[in-house]
């Protein structure tokens, strides 16, 4: 490679050696990026190619806004495919889980970053890691045996409800929110805190008025990661939400989420039914896309 360098007003040409190691690593990085992009594109194409014919047959409006889900299992023709109840179900459970998980997670993160005594921190940190590693089926089973009977005995109803699912999913996203938020708060330079104290602020004021706003971006990210996990969660939800295809009247009623619908029926679905389930996945996909866009918009505005 040649490079033109101006030296003492004169143009001279100099050879620059490229380290072969550097070249190899560059290729490795490019390959990694290409594989990642290829994976994302393949999944998108796969979902949409399969979903579009089904959506055409059902009609997009019908599919999104009809509450009638009555798949044609016997293969006799007919059947109606409307996922309005499931969209509502997904939204309710996601909102519920965030209402449970975000305040607890955020406050725990503040506690762990700024208040926690050393010995306690040594216990709490591994605890959040353990919580993060528990498989969702275990959360589901815990919900079925503990949360559901508790809700049923305390508030009545089926027990398998929006409330139960929200509680369990709220617990499930705690580790994500705690560890990402905690890191964000810890990353704020010490001088912010010290400066606030020097100006006469109390410890609480210094943390919540200077450090937390400075760590806002990281905290929002933690919430988005939690949200992504809730909306995509399948195994625990299908065990807890009751899976009725009805609009709920209260948080003690059951609902079916989009993910639950897919996992319940994909095993045996054929033809249009299978297409409708893939289309459900496509809707879910669009949902996540919208959320991601919204967040980046909010962040831009905040800056």
């Amino acid at each position: 490679m040649t490079e033109e360098v101006l030296q003492d007003g004169k143009e001279i040409k100099r050879q620059i050696k490229v380290d072969p190691k550097e070249l190899i690593m560059k290729i490795v990085f490019i390959i990694a990026a290409v594989v990642f992009i290829a994976a994302v594109v393949t999944i998108c194409v796969f979902i949409f190619v399969q979903a579009v014919p089904a959506l055409k047959e059902i009609g997009l409006f019908n599919f999104l806004f009809s509450s009638e889900w009555d798949p044609d299992v016997e293969g006799t023709g007919g059947g109606s495919y409307g996922i309005a109840t499931m969209i509502v179900g997904s939204i309710y459970i996601t909102a519920g889980a965030l209402i449970v998980g975000v305040p607890i997670g955020f406050l725990t993160a503040v506690f762990m970053a700024r208040y926690c005594p050393r010995p306690l921190y040594k216990v709490m940190k591994p605890m959040t890691n353990i919580l993060a590693g528990i498989p969702s089926i275990v959360y589901g089973y815990f919900g079925v045996r503990v949360i559901v009977p508790f809700i049923r005995d305390t508030f009545g109803g089926y027990g398998y409800s929006i409330l139960s699912a929200s509680l369990v999913l709220g617990i499930m996203i705690l580790p994500t929110i705690i560890s990402v938020s905690e890191n964000a708060i810890r990353a704020v330079p010490k001088s912010y805190y010290e400066g606030a104290l020097a100006l006469g602020a109390t410890k609480e004021r210094a943390i919540f008025r200077t450090e937390v706003p400075a760590a806002k971006s990281g905290i929002v990210t933690s919430i988005i990661l939690g949200l992504g996990r809730v909306i995509g969660e399948t195994m625990a939800v299908v065990m807890l939400c009751g899976n009725q295809t009805e609009f709920p009247d209260s948080i003690l009623d059951g609902v079916r989420t989009m993910t639950a619908n897919i996992v319940l029926e994909l095993g045996y679905a054929e033809g249009l039914h299978r297409g409708a389930l893939i289309a459900t996945a496509a809707v879910l996909f669009v949902f996540i896309l919208i959320i991601t866009l919204l967040v980046s918009l909010i962040r831009k505005k905040a800056k």
Binding site: N243, R256, G267
Partner: protein, 298 residues
Amino acid sequence: MKKVLLAILSLVMACGIGIAAVGCADNTSSDATGTIIVVSREDGSGTRSAFIELTGIETDEDGDRTISSAMITNSTNMVLTTVADAVNAIGYVSMGSLNDQVKALSVDGVAATADNVLAGTYKLARPFNIAYKTGTTNEIRDDFIKYIYSDQGQAIVTQENYIAIPEGDDQRTGSYTSPGNLSGSITVGGSSSVSPLMEKLIEAYEALNSGVTINLQTSDSTAGMSGAAEGTFDIGMASRDLRETELANLTGMAIAQDGIAVVVNPSNSLSDIEMTMICNIYIGQVTTWEQVKGESAE
């Protein structure tokens, strides 16, 4: 400060343990009252398919009339767990899967037992079918099917509380002896109702044929049949009659009969239910236990 923290923490933990303990405790004290918790299975389930057909929940004109507020679970075990936990619940499971955490109701005065199914008096009964792709051959598969119909295989069926193919039936293959030279593996998949029985059959068969491995995959009847047709499963399992569309490229056969038991929580005082009442509960015309018990008492 630290002491206060410690106190708060231990309080929280105590609360958590308390909730867990309450959740795990048996609620066997009070009788079922109020709204019925209707527990059903997913659309592809063979148990559901047989149940709605036998009880009249499914009609030719209206199809499956199960109310949409019925809770949907995706396995036999989830039905059992739900009914065992909830005093107000009603569900239905394969008779062979019954355990002592739930109570099986007698239907129209006939107890849910294998003898009554065999005698034909217990009406909620259906066949357990297996099927393979028509025109294919597989040495291990054929030998395994031969084993299922042998005296040893059918003895397991009886032992597991299902109803065996009667002795003297054409399908029975008599006493089984292992050919001794088989090796390889096959995959069996489908209905979660047939699965517990199949597991026992496979266990016994593998003990006799050490070179053979049989993989068992559990999902539901419809998945079992489509898997067998596609070649994913060498043998598919279904807990209902095969549909005409499925029989187009599958050879099916019944390996046992099974009753469907209507189950309630053990603390429910109800012990007998009419077929029409089952239907009314599942289509949403009867919604409280008072209605059920009132009519039963009359």
